[in-house]
Symmetry: C2
Subunit: 480 residues, 2 copies
Amino acid sequence: MADSGKKRLVEAITPMDEDFAKWYTDIVKKAELIDYSSVRGCMYIRPYGYAIWENIQRILDGMFKETGHENVYLPMLIPESLLNKEKEHVEGFAPEVAWVTMGGSEKLEERLCVRPTSETLFCELYSHIIHSYRDLPKLYNQWCSVVRWEKTTRPFLRTLEFLWQEGHTMHETAEEAKEETERMLNIYAEFCEKYLAIPVIKGRKTDKEKFAGAEATYSIEALMHDGKALQSGTSHYFGDGFARAFGIQFTGRDNTLQYPYQTSWGVTTRLIGAIIMVHGDDSGLVLPPKIAPTQLIIIPVAAHKPGVVDKAKELEARLKKEFRVKADYSDNSPGWKYAEYEMKGVPLRLEIGPRDIENNRCILVRRDNREKIEVSLDELEAKVRETLDDVQQSLFDKAKERRDNMTYTCTDLNTFIETAQNKPGFIKAMWCGDVECENKLKELAGVTSRNIPFEQEHLSDTCVCCGKPAKHMVYWGKAY
Amino acid sequence: MADSGKKRLVEAITPMDEDFAKWYTDIVKKAELIDYSSVRGCMYIRPYGYAIWENIQRILDGMFKETGHENVYLPMLIPESLLNKEKEHVEGFAPEVAWVTMGGSEKLEERLCVRPTSETLFCELYSHIIHSYRDLPKLYNQWCSVVRWEKTTRPFLRTLEFLWQEGHTMHETAEEAKEETERMLNIYAEFCEKYLAIPVIKGRKTDKEKFAGAEATYSIEALMHDGKALQSGTSHYFGDGFARAFGIQFTGRDNTLQYPYQTSWGVTTRLIGAIIMVHGDDSGLVLPPKIAPTQLIIIPVAAHKPGVVDKAKELEARLKKEFRVKADYSDNSPGWKYAEYEMKGVPLRLEIGPRDIENNRCILVRRDNREKIEVSLDELEAKVRETLDDVQQSLFDKAKERRDNMTYTCTDLNTFIETAQNKPGFIKAMWCGDVECENKLKELAGVTSRNIPFEQEHLSDTCVCCGKPAKHMVYWGKAY
């Protein structure tokens, strides 16, 4: 019984090595993270998927507030004339926005786009409320959804509508704005590494890859199981470009009128895609304990035997005081349940049966490496705490080791092309700074620049593409 | 100095009795709850306004989860064909939706509306995931914004886009669905009374006033300072109408295919409008402590004198352990600060100056009745706790007393019309159940039925309008 139940679920997933894309979509569906909708390119985020997002929100929101940020809510519709105010920005976004042209049965005089991002609205608001240097900095953030009219979509990774947060800040000096840009990138990196157990590369995007209207874009880049990169968070420095376009001015300390300096930064539900593709395996999702909606699942074994369910409920009540715990008392077989919660990536499983009760013990089973641990009920909390911490750390270490093993150094063009074509992963290589070389590497090797990492290494003196003097070391790769 | 600062702010509000609508918009602007945007009918919710919404969300979300509900996220765009599936529903909403007709530069084959509410999407999702009675109940909720193309708008009360939560549940039996409808109405009523200090009337809407597509709509109705009613939350019972339209079927306990029974329920940012119009006064906002972003503001007096700021910071650190506290160390005068935090409705002000420090005391000033309380620093926490509780209760009592004083009983048509025209407030009167009488009372007296309260009273035997036998007692009034 147990085995047949297990097989039924496990067989349903395409193995990762057979078809990575199919493996991914199997997991998002079978772990009940999402369901497909009849709205093209949009998904239904189901309770289990949304609970992960709620944990992401709760933790990040706390980090934002600790650093002085406040939440606001701005309209989802942007008049075309407002979007048009900053030239580079509108050129970047206009081709991919959804346009509202009718209200009820009336044709609108001016069409409105569903926000693809809200720089323009924040600028309008800031133009109303920033008058003096005393009004600065303004450190606002918004949790909402945005729409971008993408051609091809994939759950969490690229959807027409997605959930995100967008921070938009205004500062008295360029220096302060640059510090903020970096501060938020560091918060994203800390969040990914500490909570999602995903190691990231922090760095600056090349001009070709930066955000429409930004002076500089910074990103954190993570490596997925299949060797493709995922941009997992971005932070932009705008200088005073938008402020000038929107006429935002303040009276400075020296009594002159000045333009403030601006940043924006965001992460999205993509992060859930990253969790799947960094930690998942052929049995399903593997969730880091710090972000898992359920950290431990209790499964009574031989539940019909006297005392088993009572004991399970007693342990549930004990553990709920400290951990996010669920118990499954349904009449499915234990094996069926094991497979179900493995699919859902619950970090720890607690098995308790008649013989365990006799011996005042239970069995803990780790989702990540399937290790079974016999634990005395007297030290249950301590052992669960310790094991969850260890799972969290192991997931990070394993992901980092894999990323490092999949990161290659290339110093000449032929090796670069050969590596890009045969070895999935990051390539570190020197670059002269010319967009022509970026275009050429894309064309010849199929990779794009991921970022110019803050932690530079001197791999050689010359650009891997053109042989001219190198300016930076760059991470290259195929990307989602 | 103090007085001139105070005047500057206070003079800026239109007194409530002079022009209630202007008083309201003055407060939302000057308490920095919102700012107007160039998007017609939409507003910018500023940090102070959004913090109130965050408190509402946090508390309600906790109440929803305690009663077994889970959060999800569904698309903001609904294909026209999906909206059209339930006839009454589309007739109710189609005239007031915003239509997306272009994606990028491409005209869409099928236009999409920005969700005005999400029954249709929830039904599509439920049709995919409900197969057996074991899958029921499904108790989902969503926090999001919706768009309704309103002609005239007012901040928080009626805007093109507004924030809300929408619960959508599916049940095995009609009985269970009806219980859910009532359970959620009770949660809304409890929330309004306990947290917002707003007394409400629970009851059923007449057929004329019910939600498009519902079998029954229940509401909670509150009375504003100007005697107008505000529908503050609704809960709908749908029967199996949508389930039939969307083909949602499950295998029942008896192995037959059945249609599930549905509810939906929601509250919106309107609640912030209710807080303003129930508790506010001519000095600005008055916030109930349980919902106030800042429960206590510390203002050092003669802050340049040695030791004052240090002492204020010491008290701030002490009080922050238990309360939502801020302190204002800016160089504005105390009087200016008093006016500012009165405008923002902070429930308690703590003043501390050199003489207070000498005497190991401080002064607490209540926002609601301006009472000054001298408090020994040794019992500060206890006194703050007690005073906040008392403010919370006083606000509710005062609002209830006012509502009761503004509620009139009418048993004949002439008195009804005269009362409606001259006495702002609720009218209780008997009704025969015919929509013709509802229409006539609207025409003659300018009021609509608010709801048929659960707590019925027998005021007379006959309908106040037509004199035929009465079926129900109804609350009538002018409404926002």
